[in-house]
Amino acid sequence: MNRIAIVCPGRGSYTEKSLNSLPVDHPWVRRADEIRADLDLPAIAELDRAERFRAADHLRPANAAALIYLVSMLDATVAAAGHRVVAVAGNSMGWYTALAVAGALSFEDGFRLVQEMALIQERHGDGGQVLYPLVDEDWRADPVRIAAVEAALASSQGDALHSIHLGGYAVLAGTPKGVAHLLKELPQQRLGGTVYPFRLLRHGPYHTPWLAAVTDEARERLAGLEFQRPLATLIDGRGRQHSPWSGDVDTLRDYTFGPQVTEPYDLSASLRVLLREYAPDRILLPGPGNTLGGVLGQVLIQEGWSGIRDKAAFQAAQAAPEALVVSLRR
């Protein structure tokens, strides 16, 4: 039996290719749509089966988050069968999915969490997120790019902050002024055919103190969530492990409604702990898109894991029969 780890994606993972991912008559989808109906939100089933991708609908936080959660949950459940899940992590909103994948929340509570947080975040926090690479084309740390990020943050006079430590990328967050500052100050750089910096569409300044108001509202609206001790170790966005035996539901709740919202999400640290302390045979990436495949590759390179020291080595390792990182979708 393989020892597997599961890493759940964040909200940036939903794309045009993600349409038609859901078995629309699955009980989870039906239950999700019942909850959404109460909230006056369009049905997931309709969004999934839409003829074409409509950014305004599909990227709206309250829709994208729900879609991603459902696809991830269904993928993870299927993929985990027959394996031993040793650790579960997630990126940003992927933390909520991770809670449910690990059994710390029921499917329904996990869905409520994802849905409500997306709605609350739609109401709070002007500003947004900016993506910028910290590595070169070989996915090795690029000191010039790292220095550029630090310099841009330093000169933002507090209007921009680290948001997510995302392997070879920095996700930065800012007030409207901060975002403008970042887009102006960060020198244009190319990585894998994409030009950076760019602003993430429909993303707020997540994981910063600007969302402090979210925490209070979320605690109130989601007071009924029943956190449980996870069935597999959860690794949060600070790299803290929540064990199936000694994990504490209060700690999980406090983290989810507190620091997870207002402090930088360190996915790199989370993945580092997952690799070093659990050394899984496979790392499964459920959910739409494949945004975390490269990020995991970059963390493996940072770690020199199994001798992987650049992008070519990662790609070669991935091409081998028993690849470590398994993306369940493209």
């Binding site: 949060d236 790299g239 000694s246 504490d248 702990v273 070093r276 302390e277 020199g304």
Partner: protein
């Protein structure tokens, strides 16, 4: 045998968990395990998991060794109840830990998000260069983020520095330089029952009690993990309680029994230490499984019955039973927990074995003696604000004084250091109130306060322990060793501890200090060997230790500036040797000529490692290389050489005895053609002569002629007989003449 015993112990736990009957009662996660206790089910399970991880690491260490992929097998097996201390002490409480601390580290690092203790331990076992603690230099327990400076000590030699750190916590606050640590921080120092007998343990514990008796906050928790044996020598039953259970100024706690009882006792001990700011001795009952290390065949000195009886007391087995019987966990739950932990460790081990190792000498040695010349020079010329200086010195600026003695100028230089560097502490025996046996620190305690300039108890081990502790907390200690002969009493504090720290922590921890050592021979006032020791070989033998000696007053001041800067900038340990016989010397050639006095050097003048001082730069007939008293004798001999046979000698003052200024020596040797090394220390490796001659012979300019004059290989006797074993002016003169007259170059070039 050993591997079998490992399997037997592992199987016994498995067998128990297979066959155990679950308790009829099942406690909820936050229920306490005993009626009035504070250990909850959840915390107990966390401890158990940490203990099992530690055990799995020990098992894997032996497996890695068997496969020749791991290099360290001293294990924590049987000591896992120390996880309780790891959980109850804060990650901001400095911990100086002995080698059986696996479970303690697992539970301590559980408090630190993002930490990877399992993987880090494995990296240490295989000596991987990315081991985050030592960089592949040693398997040590350490963590920069959670204040665990790595210890290599197997002989309790880390106890004095732990006490020093506890002492320095409040001292730093008192002088207005608080550390980043909370005000109720405690220091933890662990060692075994056998190590509790070491002189250094006794010195450290004594110093803590002494300090507490004087009313100084000394919050140190001595954690004595009593497994009843040291390698093959059994500790008499009850010895630790006998030795430490009833000492005044030392709170004693005895942690034993079931996990919840141990928890409460450790909790009380930690609380006492934290609230009373006083030394606490906590005995923790443990057993030692599987011998001292993987290579130790325990059946050579213990019967199989005894070994089995000890194995039956395996704390992990005991805790499993306890958790099941109390209804804290179902046996199946613990089975899964144990199997998961073992699988994790084995999987991680498969990754670490392919991690790179240290492959070149320069990388290995990089943390040993870092030296950025420019940075050190910039720091060395640091001078206090002129007004503050005027105020502190009462208007008597040393640069405005007439020429003065070595003692007077060093006193002034120390005063300047205390003014310009608010983090300096000056201490030792008689340093404070009396102002030093030779008056060197006279007036400094009064001027700078007893918090910064103070007397210590009469123990060199403690003095250096305080220095290490203060250095750890960002202070810049200047401890004094009253006589060179006394350093041997405490040498391991420099050799095994202070100088090894940067090396074994890959430069992550340093304990900067400038150790003033009054020494060398030729004293007229105070005779006999112990006040005239003439051997510095033991100091030169220490990797990474910088050693300098000031002979003339101005040069000594310039050396002290460099020494302090090296300590400040790089955390270096610098020994600053002071020739006692020259402290109050005024004359060079004739009585009353004042030739040994000098002015206070300008602040921008520094003597850095590699720098030398030259007298008679124009002379080319012979080069005399010397230092300290030998320098003065050489200068006198040089004058006679010229007067008597017209030979002109260039005299080189080494200034730095480690590292030796080989480049400068070689350059001047090449210009003079003949080299006479005048080494006032003992002939056989007590001094520097061998090293200089060997270097010149192997790497020096070709065709030069070399001779030496050295002291006899003897202790120094009392009275005039001392002259018979020490280097004398006439010997230098004779040797120089011989070198010149027998030289292939003839009498003059």
């Amino acid at each position: 045998m050993t591997l079998n015993r490992v399997e037997i112990v592992e199987r016994r736990l498995d067998a128990y968990l297979e066959g155990a009957v679950p308790s009829s009662e099942s406690l909820p996660p936050d229920a306490p395990l005993s009626r009035s206790g504070t250990l909850t089910v959840r915390r107990a399970l966390a401890l158990f998991e940490d203990q099992v991880l530690s055990r799995a690491l020990d098992v894997t260490a032996r497996e890695l060794k068997r496969l020749n992929q791991g290099f360290y097998t001293i294990s924590s097996a049987g000591h896992e109840q120390n996880a309780v201390a790891g959980a109850l002490v804060r990650t901001s409480d400095p911990c100086f830990l002995h080698y059986r601390s696996g479970a303690l580290m697992m539970s301590r690092l559980r408090q630190q998000p993002g930490s990877t203790p399992v993987f880090d331990t494995l990296l240490g076992l295989v000596a991987a260069s990315d081991d985050p603690t030592s960089g592949g230099r040693h398997k040590v327990w350490g963590s920069r983020a959670t204040w665990v400076p790595p210890q290599t000590s197997t002989i309790a030699s880390h106890v004095p520095k732990a006490v020093g750190t506890a002492f320095a916590l409040s001292r730093a606050r008192r002088i207005g330089l608080p550390t980043a640590l909370p005000s109720d921080t405690i220091v933890v120092c662990s060692f075994g029952d056998a190590s509790a007998n070491h002189a250094t343990a006794l010195a450290g514990i004594n110093a803590a009690r002494y300090s507490a008796r004087k009313g100084t906050p000394t919050p140190v928790l001595f954690l004595c993990e009593d497994n009843g044996i040291g390698i093959s020598v059994e500790t008499p039953r009850g010895w630790i309680q006998d030795a430490y259970g009833t000492q005044r100024h030392l709170h004693f706690f005895d942690a034993r029994g079931e996990l919840d009882e141990i928890w409460e006792t450790v909790r009380l001990a930690v609380m006492t230490c934290r609230t009373a700011h006083a030394p606490v001795f906590l005995r923790l009952e443990t057993v030692r499984l599987w011998g001292h290390a993987g290579t130790d065949v325990e059946t050579g000195y213990r019967s199989i019955e005894v070994i089995e009886a000890i194995e039956a007391r395996d704390p992990i087995l005991q805790n499993a039973r306890f958790l099941v019987e109390r209804g804290a966990a179902h046996p199946a739950t613990l089975r899964t927990l144990v199997q998961t932990a073992r699988d994790r460790v084995q999987a991680a081990a498969r990754e670490v074995v392919c991690r790179p190792k240290l492959t070149d000498r320069a990388t290995i040695m990089a943390p040993l003696a870092p030296h950025d010349k420019d940075a050190v020079r910039r720091d060395a010329v640091r001078v206090a604000d002129p007004e503050a200086r005027q105020l502190a010195l009462g208007g008597h600026l040393p640069e405005n004084q007439k020429k003065r003695t070595l003692a007077a100028q060093l006193n002034a230089a120390l005063a300047d250091a205390l003014i310009a560097r608010p983090n300096t502490l000056l201490f030792g025996e008689d340093v404070g109130k009396k102002g030093g046996v030779y008056g060197l620190t006279m007036g400094l305690a009064k001027r700078f306060g007893a918090a910064r300039v103070f007397d210590t108890l009469l123990d060199e081990t403690t003095i250096l322990g305080v220095a290490q502790g203060a250095g750890h907390l960002g202070l810049l200690p200047i401890p004094e060793i009253q006589y060179l002969a006394y350093i041997h009493n405490a040498l391991d504090q420099l050799r095994g501890e202070a100088c090894s720290l940067a090396f074994f922590s890959n430069g992550q921890f340093t304990n900067p200090m400038v150790v003033r050592i009054a020494g060398l021979a030729y004293q007229r006032g105070f005779g006999g060997h112990f006040h005239n020791d003439d051997s510095i070989g033991a100091l030169r033998d220490i990797p990474g230790l910088a050693l300098c000696v000031g002979s003339r007053p101005d040069r000594a001041v310039k050396l002290l500036r460099a020494a302090l800067a090296m300590a400040q900038v790089h955390g270096r340990v610098v020994a600053f040797l002071e020739p006692i016989a020259l402290y109050h010397e005024r004359d060079l050639f004739e009585a009353g000529d004042n030739g040994w006095l000098s002015e206070y050097p300008p602040h921008d003048e520094v003597l850095m490692p590699g720098d030398v001082c030259i007298d008679g730069a124009a002379a080319q007939d012979i080069l005399i290389v010397s230092y300290a008293n030998g320098l003065r004798l050489s200068l006198r001999a040089a004058r006679r050489l010229e007067q008597e046979i017209g030979v002109r000698a260039r005299v080189l003052d080494l200034c730095w005895l480690n590292p030796l200024p080989f480049d400068a020596i070689a350059q001047h040797a090449a210009e003079c053609g003949r080299v006479l090394v005048v080494d006032e220390c003992r002939a056989t490796a007590g001094g520097v002569a061998d090293a200089i001659v060997a270097q010149l012979a192997e790497h020096g300019p070709r065709g030069i002629e070399i001779a030496t004059v050295r002291a006899a290989d003897s202790y120094v006797p009392l009275g005039p007989a001392a002259d018979l074993v020490l280097v004398q002016e006439v010997q230098i003169l004779a040797a120089a003449r011989r070198l010149v007259e027998n030289s292939a170059f003839g009498a003059r070039r």
